[in-house]
Amino acid sequence: MAVIDKKTIEHVALLARLELSEEEKELFVSQLGDILTYIEKLKELDTSKVEPMAYATATTNVFREDVPTPSLKLEEVLKNAPAKFQDFFKVPKVIE
């Protein structure tokens, strides 16, 4: 059975870029645990010979031609930006 502990919650929260409060961590340990327990019922089914259904349609080969369409105007690109500098989006310094 998949038991989800606080350490796992913290790791997943980092992957998902969510800062969780201690209270939320506790809550999710319990709630995600319940949901995952419910989901365990899938194990009852033998799916070894079943193909996964990754796509909701049977369509294939949908392409567009390599033809330009207009880009947005710069004002529109930056209109919703929380922070900008000149013609750029601005973010806290990214270090490598």
Binding site: L14, Y55, F63, T69, P70, D87, E96
Partner: protein, 482 residues
């Protein structure tokens, strides 16, 4: 202990298309920031991708050129990671069913030929560009800037097996691969613009040992030279680590050009977990046999095959053929000349020496070269028939590059036709001998250099126009007789 160096390369090449991979914004380098962006490539809420057919076919062509097995049912996956230049915080890429697998690239270096095996070739989207401005006081500002013009440009990733055993092989692989991508018009391969990029992984193992050593990945390699320098540094570093009895830690390192060394990445490398899953917004691509064969038919002759053909068909040396085919445009230029005037060796001599020198000195590309194959061939003919001497021909050539004038025009304007008239030459020889009695005396004493001196004087007097063979012949006769 002797160690063996094992290198694998990951290459990213931006594809030559008019528009981006999933939207109609232009795929162009150098536009003003954030002017080539739309809701789709900005990852606005609600938008959806649609694959650019040309981009897909270009990737297919590359996979075929690299002798890959094609997954005729190929799908796209989301690679999830957060980075400010990645608009959706996932990259649409391929993971489970790559377009091409198990290919190879044949390289030739020194006298050796070797196949470097390709693990996979797949299509994905570019990220935008992150800029780290310098502050006025020196050092970096406390912010970074993002330009999304590049976001969504079609990108091909080519991943080798760890098949390279030394820097010579790495260099040959990079050059050959670049050449293949240029030949097939898959990418413009401009490293300075970032349209061709390499990442290397390197490990060392004691000779004779089968198990691979711990691998280090190196990023931030902005030129082929940087790749080689970084690998050389890393070989040294890892050797020292191993010889001191320690183990090399598996990590990603960045090449620092100013410090000429690799440095461990500063960010915490939380276990990368890309959480790949099938991209539900795209449908699978099915490459039917007919489509595949049609793409295969568009493949041009590849550089190595062309090199071998130049040797067999034109009787060129392998070296010259290699020089010519290194650049598709140069090889095309050569072949055009040869079709106009079947004198492959002479043309090769002109192209590999004089044309290339002018290209290098003037930092020109062959497509912008002012002397067309038609113009060059006229000059080669003039030199061959003896209408102009070789030294004059070289001068004329330089002037052609400067002025875009044709050879006959320059020769005529400047009166440069070679003097091959016997009587005229004899009279000039007479004059020169008269002016240099000492030389004549020396010659008679058996000093052979006097002959060379006199030829030089004659050429000087005629401004290089005298037919050198005739001058030699007539002068000898005169001296013997005199």
């Amino acid at each position: 202990m002797q160690h063996e160096t094992i290198v694998g390369l990951e290459t990213h090449a931006e594809l030559l298309t008019e528009t981006k991979l999933f939207c109609g914004c232009l795929n162009r380098f150098g536009a003003s920031p954030n002017t080539l962006a739309c809701p789709v490539c900005l990852g606005l809420p609600g938008v959806l991708p649609v694959i650019n057919k040309k981009g897909f076919e270009t990737a297919l062509k590359a996979a075929l050129a690299l002798h890959c097995q094609i997954n005729q049912f190929t799908t796209f996956d989301r690679k999830n990671y957060y980075y400010p230049d990645l608009p959706k915080n996932y990259q649409i890429s391929q993971n489970y069913l790559n377009l091409g697998i198990n290919g190879y690239l044949e390289i030739k270096y020194g006298g050796n030929k070797k196949r470097i095996c390709i693990h996979n070739v797949h299509l994905e989207e570019e990220a935008g560009k992150l800029i780290h401005p310098e502050s006025a006081l020196g050092g970096g500002e406390d912010y970074s800037l993002v330009d999304f013009n590049r976001a969504g440009v079609p990108l091909l990733e080519i991943v080798t097996y760890p098949d390279m055993r030394g820097l010579e092989e790495v260099e040959a692989y990079m050059n050959t691969l670049k050449n293949v991508l240029l030949y097939t018009e898959v990418s413009d391969c401009k490293m300075q613009e970032g349209s061709l990029r390499f990442e290397a992984s390197i490990s060392l193992r004691p000779i004779g040992q089968e198990k691979l050593g711990n691998r280090v990945e190196i990023k931030n390699l902005n030129s082929m030279k940087a790749v080689l320098k970084a690998l050389e540094y890393e070989m040294r570093r890892q050797k020292e680590v191993l010889e001191s009895g320690e183990t090399v830690s598996m990590e990603t390192r960045l090449w620092s050009e100013p410090n000429e060394r690799t440095e461990r990445m500063r960010t915490k490398e939380e276990a990368h977990d890309y959480r790949y899953f099938p991209e539900p917004d795209l449908t699978p691509a099915v490459v039917e046999d007919r489509w595949l064969e049609k793409q295969r038919a568009t493949l041009p002759e590849l550089p190595l095959a062309r090199r071998e053909r130049f040797v067999a068909k034109y009787g060129l040396s392998d070296y010259d053929a290699g020089v010519l085919t290194e650049d598709k445009a140069l090889a095309d230029y050569f072949e055009r000349c040869v079709t106009l005037h079947h004198s492959p060796k002479a043309v090769c001599n002109w192209v590999t020496n004089y044309v290339q020198r002018e290209l290098n000195e003037r930092r020109l590309e062959i497509k912008d070269f002012p002397v067309s194959p038609e113009m060059l061939v006229e000059l080669v003919r003039l030199a061959e028939t003896g209408d102009v001497s070789m030294p004059v021909a070289k001068e004329v050539f330089v002037e052609m590059v400067d002025t875009r004038k044709k050879a006959p025009q320059i020769v005529q304007e400047r009166g440069l036709l070679q003097i091959s008239d016997r009587a005229e030459l004899e009279s000039i020889i007479q004059e020169v001998i008269a002016e240099n009695p000492n030389a004549l005396a020396d010659y008679k004493k058996g000093k052979k250099t006097a002959l060379t001196f006199l030829v030089g004087q004659i050429m000087r007097k005629t401004k290089g126009k005298a037919n050198p063979q005739m001058v030699n012949e007539l002068l000898k006769k005169k001296l013997e007789a005199g």
